[in-house]
Amino acid sequence: MKIEEALAKLEEITARLERGELPLDEAIGLFEEGLALAAAAKKDLDAARLRIDQVIEQAKGTLSVEPFDVS
């Protein structure tokens, strides 16, 4: 899931849980889902490494995409 979607979903879950009207098993289910989402998003954020590609026009109208060597 994209970070953006995970954040939106997490906010929705938290808001539902905070309203406090849910049956216990549903509340616990949401809590688990929320924690899992937060943990996954945090993991994605920590693990991300910037990927850089170079886009060059080879012949007229044809582009090549190749990894760019940063060093």
């Binding site: 970070i3 953006e4 406090g20 216990l24 688990e32 929320g34 954020l45 590609d53």
Partner: protein, 404 residues
């Protein structure tokens, strides 16, 4: 002669003014400054002459500032229109720009182009687009060997490595630069990755002399920026440098690093907000659990009194489910609420009427009543009783009652 029109003085002056202004339009003129005077009003009056001719020049206060003091004998370029000062019938030139010749030329051309593009609407705020909050694909149009790229990548790597970067290399100075930049920006605009266009493109270069930044004042590039289908961030030189692309772009960044900051969220801030949300989740679920436990205890008390077996079975089953799930939480072990739920489970087990039955005891009640018999006196000969065993039930009739 009679049918020829007779003008009044003011009519003639007005007509002459109109002819001059519309006939010549705005022009550049070069000449040598003579007879400078600054009026108390702030307007500047001087004459401009060459070897054969002379003209009065007015530059009204509040127009573009004069970059250098205008002095007698200086050669300057003026931009404006020839007109007639009607009350005096005096022919003069109203200058909107006055530039010393030489160093000012580049700047004069800059101002001229800027004004032209502004009038065409290329700087229109309504045309400017908002940047996405979480960009996934970031284009960069710059030199592959320049300091700008290095700075941009450093910031993106720190703040938002979630994004992928697509570099569209181009030279950024020299005669070929404007055309290369236009081509690279065009490629960025039409580029797709997995069918998705770029979220935005950073167009820029590091600091340099005014001449080195000239490519970013090119009219073709300005128009390409305006036509770009994706948002463009102009990031040229240092924060004191201003280029035409800065005005046309959707966002102007003072430097390339600042551009990379402007277009990305900071992952450290997002991690903090995730932490805060997890905290909110925990307080919410704790509150819900406390409430549920309270409700459970009171209904447990009631059900033990009323209908021991069936209710206890279902409650216990529910409790098992909750306890199992709660035990799955990472932090749950130390949670006093969990301990209390365990305790409640133990209490349930001890009070479960089926336990003794398995060891051979039984429960007897009068048919039609749920109250277990504790004393023989509670039954009378002839009444029907039911005995609940660990497996199955017996129905019997009382023959005799012996009280102890």
């Amino acid at each position: 002669m009679n049918d020829q029109r007779v003008y009044t003085v003011s009519e003639l002056n007005r007509e002459a003014r109109g002819l001059l202004e519309s006939g010549l339009g705005e022009v550049w003129m070069k000449g040598e400054v003579a007879g400078v005077s600054r009026a108390a009003s702030g307007h500047l009056y001087f004459s401009l002459k060459d070897s054969e001719s002379e003209i009065d020049i007015v530059r009204f206060r509040g127009r573009a500032p004069v970059l250098a003091p205008i002095e007698q004998g200086m050669v300057v370029l003026v931009f404006g229109r020839a007109t007639v000062y009607e009350p005096r019938g005096r022919y003069q030139f109203v200058a909107s720009l006055v530039q010393p010749v030489g160093s000012g030329l580049l700047h004069a051309a800059f101002e001229r182009l800027k004004e032209k593009l502004r009038l065409e609407g290329l700087f229109d705020p309504a045309h400017k687009r908002r940047l996405p909050t979480f960009p996934e694909r970031i284009g960069v149009v710059t030199s592959p060997t320049g300091a700008a790229l290095h700075d941009i990548l450093a910031v993106l790597g720190r703040r938002w490595p979630i994004a992928r970067v697509f570099l569209f290399p181009s030279s950024v100075q020299g005669d070929a630069a404007p055309a290369e930049l236009v081509a690279a920006l065009g490629r960025a605009g039409s580029f797709t990755d997995d069918g998705a266009p770029l979220d935005l493109v950073i167009l820029g270069r590091g600091g340099g002399a005014a001449e080195d930044l000239a490519a970013f004042n090119d009219e073709r590039l300005a128009r390409a920026v305006y036509a770009s289908p994706i948002p463009v961030i102009s990031a040229v030189g240092h924060d004191v440098d201003v280029s035409i692309t800065d005005f046309v772009a959707d966002v102007r960044a003072p430097t390339p690093s600042a551009a990379a900051e402007l277009v990305t969220p900071d992952r450290a801030e997002i991690a903090d907000s995730l932490q805060r949300t997890a905290g909110r989740l925990e307080s919410a679920v704790t509150a819900r659990r406390t409430a549920a436990e309270r409700a459970f205890r009171s209904s447990l008390r009631a059900s033990l009194v009323r209908e021991p077996r069936r209710l206890i079975e279902t409650r216990e089953q529910k409790l098992d489910v909750h306890v199992t799930r709660l035990l799955g939480f990472r932090r749950a072990a130390a949670d006093p609420l969990i301990e209390r739920l365990h305790h409640a489970e133990e209490v349930l087990k001890l009070t479960d009427p089926r336990r003794p039955l398995e060891r051979g005891y039984s429960i007897t009640h009068v048919v039609g009543s749920n109250v277990p018999l504790r004393s023989a006196s509670e039954a009378a000969p002839g009444c029907e009783i039911e005995t609940v065993l660990a497996a199955g039930r017996l129905r019997s009739r009382v023959e005799e009652v012996t009280e102890t």
